[in-house]
Subunit: 320 residues, 2 copies
């Protein structure tokens, strides 16, 4: 029996044993959504809850992938295993690669302690905002303790996904203001750590002042975590250790003050709400097609039935 | 019994007889949504189908209200009755006024052949996109044959609302490019008639060329209606007759080629779809509150139930 035909439960056993191809197959189920994805989710849920997630986001060209790759190298030097999800909403066809298609990450391709995957949705009706936590849960369940989630900080959805990590790293560049103007507020809101990458260029001090000023304006309570602003040159590895240390300090901070548990509970409830909403959207689509829809909507067009009565009739099974 | 306590059916009889306060009261029911709005809608639906709607939209300051007022004057000179809905999403508290709060329209305040109403949603869960067609239907049902729907062409929703009229007039100004850059495509798509208002200013020719060019690019079929581009100075009344004549020509065009009937059927189906979706959104909110929600979402947070099983349980009555 090839992997393609195997049921989620068998694939999960193999993935637990370290079979990377089975993990990749399970992630493909998640990307496609539907019944198989739900089955994967159920199995993974029971085994999950130990992993720590780190979100990385920033404008295209800010060097997120390079920084991610440098962080992987650092984690491996500490003998930590790591999984990376590179969320790629712009290319629905990149999903399915076992190794990230991002050139910068290729150096880790042969390292068994690193699992990299480009994620896209190829049918999951809940989109990346539902598929991503499912993928994280799977990687958690098969024993990865550190999961990096990299997203392009352009669209609202991607920023939200990065912000749903336990610790979120926002990557900017000297003179960042122009490139991410529209998203500044969103990025400020989710950042636990700022990295000024490409810090060998001009404008680091001005960018730092800009960020400090925005942090001052956000009026954090005195006992709150204030995001550190760290210069780095990811291509040479300068500053990468400090970035990781800040992630670890943030983890300790939110673990001790209970914010981590609160955030996770909040995220879980939000995900559940989204699953319920998604199921009802599917129901609405289901209701608004077919013969019965044609007939009832035709009657409304012909003015023989009013739209509320037609809606009542169509939703009768739902309202029961 | 005061009007406040009267049932929709009694108010509708009075409104049919010409009582403006009853009409206003029925529109308030629609603004507030819920059961009473649905009752008004049912009554109105049975009596509607004769009115013709004209949408007017444009950037703030383009002179939409002044043009609307000038069109009312022209319609009254032709002895036509007219109703105006001024959609006002930015001020949730302006609704309820029998006469528009817009200074330019005050001159029609004492004319029994004119009915003006500022519309906002004060509770209607479907928002203005569902409340507006309901309000139009009511004005139609009480016998208004021309209904002008004025919206600020800024947000997507308002542009959509104006675009759902039988004929849509887009008001621009000389040098409009800068003020509505973000919305240009949306406005191009809905326009049946362009008015370059404030045409006594510089830049009319450039604006006309700009619009013609965009129309050329939109690659209309040879038998399609090509939106005329008409200069006007609404404050003095210059060009207003030509604008109205263009509306009437467009009406004849879409009536003869069947596009009007198609558009109306499409709009009706879209409204029905939106009602169904709205009802399911209400259902989702209903499901995700209360004791049962607290208990089940708590179990998911505690990892004793997975989110799909919890969603199944919460939606069990709906899926039945």
């Amino acid at each position: 029996m090839s992997r393609r035909d195997q049921a989620p439960a068998a694939l999960f056993e193999a993935a637990l044993g370290g079979d990377r191809a089975s993990t990749a197959r399970l992630l493909s189920f998640i990307e496609r959504g539907g019944q198989a994805a739900r089955e994967v989710g159920r199995i993974a849920h029971a085994h999950s809850g130990e992993a720590y997630t780190v979100g990385l986001t920033g404008a295209p060209g800010s060097g997120k992938s390079t920084l991610t790759s440098a962080l992987i190298t650092h984690l491996r030097s500490l003998d930590l295993e790591v999984a990376v999800l590179a969320i790629d909403p712009s290319s629905p066809f990149t999903g399915g690669a076992i190794l990230g298609d991002r050139v910068r990450m290729q150096e880790h391709a042969t390292d068994a302690g690193v699992f990299i995957r480009s994620m896209a949705t190829r049918g999951h009706l809940g989109g990346l905002s539902l598929a991503t936590p499912e993928a994280v849960r799977l990687l958690d369940a098969i024993g990865r303790r550190w999961i990096l989630v990299e997203t392009v900080g352009v669209g609202q959805v991607e920023v939200e996904i990065a912000g749903k990590a336990d610790t979120t790293v926002v990557v900017v560049n000297p003179g960042w203001g122009d490139s991410v103007q529209a998203n500044k507020a969103g990025l400020m809101e989710i950042a636990d750590v700022f990295v000024i990458n490409k810090a060998d260029r001009n404008g680091v001090d001005a960018t730092r002042r800009d960020l400090e000023q925005m942090l001052d304006l956000s009026d954090l309570p005195s006992d709150a975590w204030r995001p550190p602003i760290l210069p780095a040159v990811a291509t040479t590895g300068v500053g990468v250790v400090e970035v990781w240390d800040a992630v670890v300090r943030h983890r300790e901070h939110v673990t001790e003050n209970g914010v981590l548990a609160e955030r996770r509970a909040f995220r879980t409830r939000e995900e559940l709400r989204e699953i319920v909403a998604q199921r009802l959207r599917e129901k609405a689509r289901e209701v608004c097609t077919g013969e019965r829809w044609d007939e009832l909507s035709g009657s409304v067009v012909a003015h023989t039935v009013d739209p509320w009565t037609a809606a009542d009739e169509m939703l009768a099974p739902v309202d029961a």
